[in-house]
Amino acid sequence: MHNQSSRGPRALTLALGLAAVIAVPANAQQLKLWEISSTNEGVNQNWENVIAQFEAEHPGVEVVMETFDTEAFKQGLAVALTSTSGPDIFFNWGSEDSAVLARNGLAADVTDMGEGRWLDKINAGLLAPFSVEGRAYGVPSHSIAKYMYYNTAFYEENGLTFPTTTDELLAMCKTVREIDPEVAFTSLGNRDQWKGIHYVSMLTAEYVGVDAMLADMRLQNSDDAMFTDPGYTKALAMMRTMEEEGCFQQGVNVTTADMSRTIFASGLATSIYCGTWCPGTFDSEGLEGGYSMAPFPAVSDAPEENHGYILGLTEGFQISAQSQHKELAADFIDLILSDAVQAERLVLAGRIPVNGAGVGAVSDEVHPAIQHVVADLPNYKGFAPILDVDLDGRIVEVYKRGIQDVIDGRVTPEELMAKVRAEALAVKSER
């Protein structure tokens, strides 16, 4: 026999359950977005605003945003895209990282989705970093570039000028240590290896040249020539020299990128090589504008024609080939590229827009560092390629771990390049 007293709560539970089912709109759709996590409050605020606007414009649609740190994002993305629970839209770098997904059918072809959407806002040529064999598999949303940020007060108080060449840089490493042995010229957080490979990317672009470097990275050179340019070993040797000269703080290979920003912000290093996403972090860590920006010093013994590039690339969004909501996803990307959102991303998140139409109205609100970047970027010949996003993942793994060994002096630059070359040949033979 049923207990009368239990019927009330049971009926209530059932009623609430039914009400919940009825309350969900029949056309409820969920759009899942994957993005890299950020400690920059402006970035997160911007995402909240964009999602709220999209949901308001698309009743019944819920945008679920999931964020990951860079390593976890890279490790999880490909697997997630092969599953049924992966994201509909996801961030990606306009490089080999996005191309590999396109080649393997994991990213949707968005070439025909742009009409009436982003092609009204940006030049079709900007789709190139996300294109494979003439078809677009992603849409750029902003550019990033890396600069040397330096502590303005330290340099002014000591009557120093930030180095413009690597010879000056090596001399500055000694000068800084003479002023204060506890302070390093620059802070490098290479525990997760991508910071180190960014240094090597820039140095390699100077020594090898961008075009030759790209040919190797795309595995287009002949087997005999691939990764044999002596500039590769020179770039690695420069990293070792910088370590030997005390340019970096102690323990670069156990310091995370976050820690390295803290080291710079706390004055334990006079500079840091960081992206255009960094000023917000410096400000939130207490520096609040007490820094200036400079290009990466030109490599003194590199060919003259190789100077004038800046490390950077275009970032954007791709749509999963498995997504059931591709049109909706395209609408979301289109919103990101709208004049107002691009302007807001510039102001709040420091993202250099690909659509500059709305920028004029907000130029006074843009962070001074980002204003500097916007004015400075046209001065360069172009972006120097970034090894860890433009090169096959297996080769990157050998390269970036080996850079740790080179910095510590356990492996010579020649030994590392022999390993990189062997891995590149193996990858090429399997394609």
């Binding site: 999880g76 092969t82 994991l106 290979n253 156990v254 803290t262 740790q404």
Partner: protein, 294 residues
């Protein structure tokens, strides 16, 4: 007298009904993935492109010449041996002190020593990576107080020492857990046994070696088994503390399997690594299981 056949059948049905949920779960989450792991270890199968080609034992042959696999295997063995020494050894000493040495504030000491196990491994890793960082951590200052200096790149930054740094942090986290298990075993040793031994002149350290240790032998073996299994499973601590670096100096099997599967997309090779990993863990488990039964 034999039971009627219908009775017997009913018992069988009841037994199977009761076992079914566990068997279904075991089959779905252990047996099937295990079989899939064995099967995929024989294929060249990549996340990117999904290349699926039967290659027989090629993945295992490749493994034999894989330098990083060798480093990872040796690191796991170091982890297992040193963790047993540190976690079980120190746990044993601390348990003995709390059982028969310390008279006051036992609960306070026990709680303090046990506390690190309650903190997530990610938080422990983050905490120790800050403490051991040579630029911003306090270790250099601590060592300076006793006239020593840390390696220039810190304990975790020197390939020769890095794995020992990770093992030390693991021991810091788990020694308290071992202590609690061993202490529970020691508290089950009848007081009468100690009294009888005392009358024969056996007390203090002699009582510990001749009464306590032999009596809790199986508890110690269980602790060793748990520690060795934990040492072979270790992943999170390495991931947070060193990410396998510098170079590949702190790579362990679990992190190498993870990297092959999710960074390089080499699912077939990662499965071959997993099969070897399973075989090693199985052998260790078998040895210790036999020791318990002896």
């Amino acid at each position: 007298m034999a039971q009627p056949p219908t009775h017997h059948r009913r018992d069988t049905i009841s037994a199977l009904t009761l076992l079914a949920p566990a068997m279904i779960l075991f089959g779905a989450f252990i047996l099937l993935p295990l079989m899939q792991t064995f099967a995929w270890s024989l294929y060249r199968y990549e996340v990117f492109g999904g290349v699926k080609e039967f290659v027989g034992l090629d993945n295992f042959a490749k493994l034999a010449g894989d330098e990083v696999f060798g480093i990872a295997l040796i690191n796991n063995l170091k982890f297992a041996v040193l963790s047993v020494v540190l976690q079980v050894g120190m746990g044993l000493v601390l348990a003995a002190l709390l059982d028969r040495g310390v008279r006051r504030f036992k609960v306070v000491y026990r709680t303090i020593i046990f506390a690190p196990i309650l903190v997530s491994t990610a938080a422990v890793g983050l905490l120790w990576s800050l403490i051991l960082n040579p630029s911003i951590g306090p270790v250099d200052d601590w060592l300076g107080l006793i006239g020593l200096s840390a390696p220039r790149n810190g304990l975790l930054g020197e390939p020769a020492f890095a794995i020992y740094g990770v093992i030390f942090v693991g021991a810091w986290q788990y020694t308290g857990f071992m202590m609690v298990i061993l202490l529970a075993g020691m508290q089950n040793v009848p007081e009468e046994t100690y009294e009888a031994a005392r009358m024969d002149g056996c007390k203090g350290l002699r009582a510990f070696f001749h009464i306590t240790l032999p009596t809790i032998r199986n508890v110690i073996i269980t602790c060793c088994l748990l520690t060795v299994i934990g040492a072979f499973k270790v992943f999170d601590l390495v991931y947070v503390l060193t990410n396998g670096g510098p170079g590949n100096a702190t790579e362990v099997l679990a992190s190498y399997i993870f990297r092959n599967a999710f960074e390089f997309g080499q699912i077939g090779y990662a499965n071959a690594l997993s099969v070897v990993f399973l075989a090693i863990a199985f052998v260790f488990g078998l040895i210790q299981f036999r020791m318990i039964r002896r």
